[in-house]
């Protein structure tokens, strides 16, 4: 077909175009909700769905924990999209989510494998942000990974809702404006353990630390040491052990003749399982030193990991972010949804990932936009409840959630295969709070 442009037609078209442009420039923006210009990465405003990036360990030593995180994320997506029983959407307060996705957009997701390696995790997160167009990245089971991915997200201008990361550095010296952590940290573990240790083991103890030789190990050792020394305990030695050492016998035998009566294992995951199993096999728990029973403490517990240590975990004190046996309405709603979906209870990693997804979605809904700057401002200082652990605050100064912390003990007489940890005390939030300036670091700018 031949197209003929006439002088009259051209004039008409130009006039109509100019009219529309003029109307647009004078029309009030409240007629066009979410009228943000495309000024941030992966703006889903003009799409029918928003994509979230679930970056979890799908291979490597924390693959089981990663699988549980992924289950929780899928459940969160289901609930956000109005499917299932709604889980914590029934208990979360204040709640802006309506069960119709986020800001009316269906929630979709892509997954990545962190392999619990910082470089692999960064590569996976980068692919999600550049290729898959995700509006938020979340997940992980290691502080090294969290710190690395968080820094990348800051550069890319995409919000990172951390998964399981316990090092003080994540929201301390390495904190970032675009990074948020719901999980507790080493300082809070130490602060929560203190009074319980005093009640159970007294104030005259000699402690020996075995510490995983990386970021998380150092901050945990420091935090627990500060707490125990404040109680009056003496630190006999703090020995660094290589990550993945397997056989810890050469590090445990010196404990026997050290004069210590408490062994603190600043290990997580497989290292914790191995060092604890071997410490028990060396008879430490049957030992009497300085007229006292020898005790072992594991500052960070995980139910999934406790399974690996078998009977050796019985009676051992530690802390955990959350446990499925909590009876508050939020925890129960989540355990019910998760349990009915998968046939077993969620881990603490699953819980924190589920909550993080809902918190991000809720903040978008409250802000009325996906613009990360507005979402960050909404999350900063956000107070909420009904998601386990009681009233919680996302502290604006460091993006760390403050809530009750659980001191737990390996269950001596479990009633089921999942009943491995017994909650000794739910330590109130006020007891684990600290001045954000003690760890240094800068959040950085809102504009990436």
């Amino acid at each position: 077909m031949k197209s003929i442009i006439t002088r009259r037609g051209l004039l008409k078209g130009t006039a109509a175009g100019a009219g529309v442009a003029a109307l647009g420039s004078v029309a009030p923006t409240h007629f066009i909700k979410n009228a943000w210009a495309e000024e941030f990465r992966n703006d889903p405003t003009n799409k029918s769905a928003i994509t979230l990036g679930f970056n979890v360990p799908q291979s490597g030593p924390y693959a089981d924990e990663g699988a549980d995180e992924l289950r929780a994320y899928k459940l969160a997506v289901k609930h956000l999209n109005g499917e299932g029983d709604g889980g914590m959407l029934n208990t979360m307060k204040p709640l802006s989510l309506k069960g119709n996705g986020i800001l009316g957009k269906k929630v979709e997701y892509v997954t990545g494998d962190t392999q619990t390696k910082s470089d692999a995790a960064r590569a996976s997160a980068k692919r999600m942000m550049e290729k898959d167009g995700v509006s938020m990245v979340t997940g992980g089971s290691s502080s090294g990974v969290a710190v690395a991915v968080q820094a990348l997200c800051q550069e890319m201008g995409v919000i990172f809702m951390a998964g399981l990361t316990h090092s003080n550095d994540t929201t301390g010296k390495d904190k970032r404006r675009y990074g948020f952590r719901h999980f507790f940290n080493s300082y809070m573990s130490g602060a929560a353990l203190g009074p319980v240790l005093k009640d159970e083991y007294g104030t005259e103890r000699r402690a020996y630390h075995l510490t995983a030789d990386y970021n998380w190990g150092y901050t945990t050792e420091e935090s627990v040491k500060n707490t125990t020394e404040a109680l009056g305990w003496e630190t006999v030695a703090a020995v660094r052990t290589p990550v993945g050492a397997g056989d810890f016998s050469q590090y445990i035998t010196p404990v026997l003749n050290s004069g210590a009566d408490v062994l603190i294992l600043n290990h997580y995951g497989k290292d914790m399982v191995n060092s604890l199993t071997q410490a028990v096999s060396f008879g430490l728990r049957d030992k009497q030193v300085n007229g006292k029973n020898f005790e072992i403490i594991v500052p960070l517990f995980s139910r999934l990991m406790a399974q690996g240590a078998g009977d050796n975990i019985k009676g051992i004190l530690g802390t955990t972010n959350w446990n499925w046996s909590l009876q508050d309405a939020g925890s129960q709603a989540f355990v019910k949804s998760f349990g009915q979906e998968y046939g077993f209870p969620p881990s603490q990693a699953a819980h924190t990932c589920y909550v993080q997804t809902l918190l991000y979605a809720n903040a978008c809904e409250m802000a009325g936009t996906f613009n990360p700057v507005e979402v960050i401002k909404t999350l900063e200082g956000f107070n909420f409840d009904g998601m386990g652990n009681g009233p919680t605050e996302y502290r604006a100064a460091d993006h760390q959630c403050f809530k009750d912390v659980l001191v737990v003990r390996g269950n001596e007489n479990p009633s089921s295969q999942f009943d491995l940890l017994q909650v000794v005390q739910q330590v109130p939030r006020s007891q684990v709070e600290y001045d954000p300036s003690i760890f240094g670091g800068e959040l950085g700018p809102y504009k990436a």
């Binding site: 030593p61 056989d247 590090y251 003749n257 199993t277 060396f282 690996g308 998968y342 046939g343 089921s416």
Partner: protein, 338 residues
Amino acid sequence: MDAIFLQILNGLDKGGAYALIALGLTLIFGTLGVVNFAHGAVFMLGAFCAVTLNKILTLSQRIRDESVTFFEAYKEVPYLEVWFGETGSTLIEYSVPISILVAIPVMLLVGLAMERGLFRFFYNRTHAEQILVSFGLAIVIQEIVKAFYGANPIPQAPPEIFAGSANIGAMLGMSEAIVYPWWRLVYLVFAGIVIAAVFCFLQFTTFGMVVRAGMMDRETVGLLGINIERRFTIVFGLAAVVSGLAGVMYTPILPPDYHMGMDFLVLSFVVVVVGGMGSLGGAVAAGFLLGVLQSFAAMAEIKAIIPGIDQIIIYLVAVVILLVRPRGLMGRKGVMET
């Protein structure tokens, strides 16, 4: 003094595991000339023989915990205990030692299947290709185990009689502070017995004599009308059994997981290199030597002088050996030498 004694025990114990794995590795290299990176996975498969048998023996009657309503939580009572009482409990308690009986035929079959199904096609290929294919096989085996058993370690308890620690100090008239886990002592003795059995088998049987002759001069043995290939295939199976048994007995020391083979593989290779590729005596000697060195390097007094030495000592020794005596401590002249 007590600390030194304990570290020697630790080193010997660790060395026992290194020696058993390295023995299989060097046996395969000495006979077939194959560099088998899947040997660590064989060690792990041995450990999972123990896990599997334990799972079978502890098949349980489930008593539902009625207080939990959102999913099925239950207490497990093994059928063996329900049906046979005390006898059933004892069977479960001894699942690790019993696993040895299961692991011998299973690991022999695994070894034969690996050799016949894969490695024989790579005899005339370069070592680089052998490393690649065996490494690939190790990853496949790992992932299969992970798919069935998950990534978390699975604890295995030793029999109650070996559960605690032995007061060796009191036994030897030394300090009371010298205690050592019974099961580690059992492991040390077990490693010694298996090593002795392999040496006796190769030294005092006709089969062993032929294998040794084949290791020296494969062609001549073949010209004498002896089917050396078949014997080497059996040696591959034997190496798998040795490594598998090491894995079975190690389970109460290190709760097994799918990755445990990889953790030991690199160290065992270093042991083989230090001992001398293809040298059985060298592998055993280097295994114990490096185990003891590694333990001493972890002592606080040593680490205070050279921080981080515990993590590099084995590789440091390997570098020195490769520079000074490339064929290893007891290796044949010409092997790994230009």
